[in-house]
C-alpha cells in the first residue's frame, strides 16, 4: 500500500476520532465502492481538467442529505486533492484502521442482498468464534455472489457463496 493511501487513511481516521465516528467510515466505504463500480463517476471525479471546486460540488450534490457531513467532508477532501481514483483503496485502509484502532479485525463481507442488523451481529459472533478475534463486519452488496456470503479477513477467505458452489458444479461439467 502506498504512502499516499496510508497517509490519507491515517488522516481520515484522525478526523473520525475528532468528529466522532457514527458510521461515517461505513458511508465512506460505500461511496468509494460506488465510485469503483461506476466508470463515468470515477472518470469525472478523477478528471484533472475539471476544477477541484466543481468536483467537490459534484460530491456534495451526490451525498448531500444522504450521508453525514463528516463523510461528505472526507470524500470532498480526497476528491479535491485529486485522488478520487484512490478512493477504494483509501476506504479499505480507513476501515482497516478503524477496526484495528478498536482492537478488532476487519471482516469484508460480500453478499447478494443486504444483511439485517441481526444477521450482522450473529455473523460477527460466529466469526469471532471461528477466528478468536473480535471482528468489524463491513458488508458490500455484490450481485455476482448470487447467494450466500463471502467473508475475507486478512488473507483468509470463507466462501459460502452460491457463485462458488456453481463454479464447482461448472468445473465438473467441464
Amino acid at each position: 500500500m502506498s504512502n499516499t493511501i496510508d497517509g490519507y487513511a491515517s488522516a481520515l481516521l484522525s478526523v473520525l476520532r475528532a468528529e466522532g465516528n457514527s458510521g461515517a467510515d461505513d458511508e465512506f466505504l460505500r461511496f468509494a465502492q460506488a465510485v469503483e463500480a461506476n466508470d463515468e463517476l470515477r472518470s469525472t471525479l478523477s478528471d484533472p481538467r475539471i476544477p477541484a471546486a466543481t468536483r467537490q460540488q459534484i460530491v456534495e450534490d451526490l451525498l448531500g442529505g444522504k450521508a453525514s457531513d463528516v463523510t461528505t467532508a472526507m470524500v470532498s477532501l480526497v476528491v479535491g486533492a485529486g485522488h478520487a481514483a484512490d478512493l477504494p483503496q483509501i476506504a479499505k485502509a480507513l476501515v482497516n484502521n478503524v477496526a484495528a484502532a478498536g482492537g478488532r479485525a476487519l471482516a469484508e463481507v460480500r453478499s447478494a442482498i443486504e444483511l439485517s442488523d441481526d444477521q450482522k451481529a450473529r455473523l460477527a459472533a460466529s466469526l469471532k468464534q471461528a477466528t478468536g478475534h473480535d471482528v468489524d463486519v463491513r458488508v458490500t452488496v455484490d450481485p455476482s455472489v448470487l447467494g450466500g456470503i463471502v467473508t475475507t479477513i486478512g488473507d483468509t477467505v470463507i466462501d459460502g457463496s452460491v457463485r462458488s458452489r456453481l463454479a464447482q458444479v461448472k468445473s465438473h461439467l467441464g
Binding site: I113, L123, G147, G148, G160
Partner: protein
C-alpha cells in the same frame, strides 16, 4: 680366248695363232692390262669391297632397325591388346557396379515409397482421430456451456429473498460451528 684370237687372226690372214702376229703389241697389251688389273685390285677392289661392306652394314642396320621397329610394334600391339582387355574388364566392372547401384536405388525408392505411404496412412489416421477427439471435445464444451447457462438461470430464478436469507443464516451457523 687364245683360240678366238687365233681364229680371228687366221681369218684375217695372220700367223694362224690366237695371239697377234706382232708380239710386242701383245706384250705391251698384256703389261698394260696387268697394270690396269693390278691397279684395279689394289685400289678399286677394296673400295668396292668397302662400299659393299658399308652397304651391307647399312642394310643390316636397316634390317636391325626394322626388326626393332617390328619388335616395338609388336610390344605396342601387345600393350594395346592388354589395354583393350583391361578397358573391357573395367567397362564390365563399371556396368556391373551401375547395375548394382540401379538395383539398390530401385530398392531404396521402393522402401522409401512404402515408408511414405505408411507414414501418410498413420498421419491420416492420427488426423482423423484428432478431429474426432476435437469434435467430441467441442460437443462436450457446448453441452457444458449450455448446462452452465441453464444452471445459472435456474439458480437465479430460484434465489428469492427467503432462500437468500436462509443461505446467509446457514452460512452464519456453519461459520460459528467451525
Amino acid at each position: 680366248m687364245g683360240l678366238l684370237f687365233a681364229a680371228e687372226e687366221g681369218a684375217a690372214g695372220g700367223n694362224g695363232y690366237l695371239i697377234p702376229h706382232v708380239i710386242d703389241e701383245f706384250i705391251w697389251g698384256t703389261v698394260a692390262f696387268s697394270i690396269v688389273l693390278a691397279l684395279f685390285l689394289w685400289k678399286g677392289l677394296p673400295a668396292i669391297r668397302a662400299a659393299m661392306a658399308a652397304n651391307t652394314a647399312r642394310i643390316e642396320g636397316e634390317l636391325a632397325s626394322a626388326e626393332q621397329a617390328r619388335s616395338d610394334a609388336e610390344a605396342e600391339l601387345q600393350a594395346l591388346t592388354s589395354s583393350l582387355g583391361d578397358a573391357g574388364a573395367e567397362a564390365e566392372a563399371i556396368i556391373a557396379e551401375a547395375r548394382q547401384q540401379a538395383v539398390k536405388l530401385e530398392a531404396d525408392l521402393i522402401a522409401r515409397a512404402e515408408a511414405d505411404a505408411l507414414e501418410s496412412k498413420e498421419r491420416a489416421r492420427i488426423d482423423v482421430a484428432a478431429q474426432r477427439e476435437q469434435a467430441l471435445a467441442d460437443l462436450r464444451a457446448a453441452v457444458a456451456a449450455q448446462a452452465r447457462s441453464a444452471a445459472d438461470a435456474v439458480v437465479r430464478n430460484n434465489l428469492d429473498d427467503n432462500t437468500q436469507r436462509s443461505l446467509i443464516d446457514d452460512y452464519i451457523s456453519r461459520v460459528g460451528a467451525g
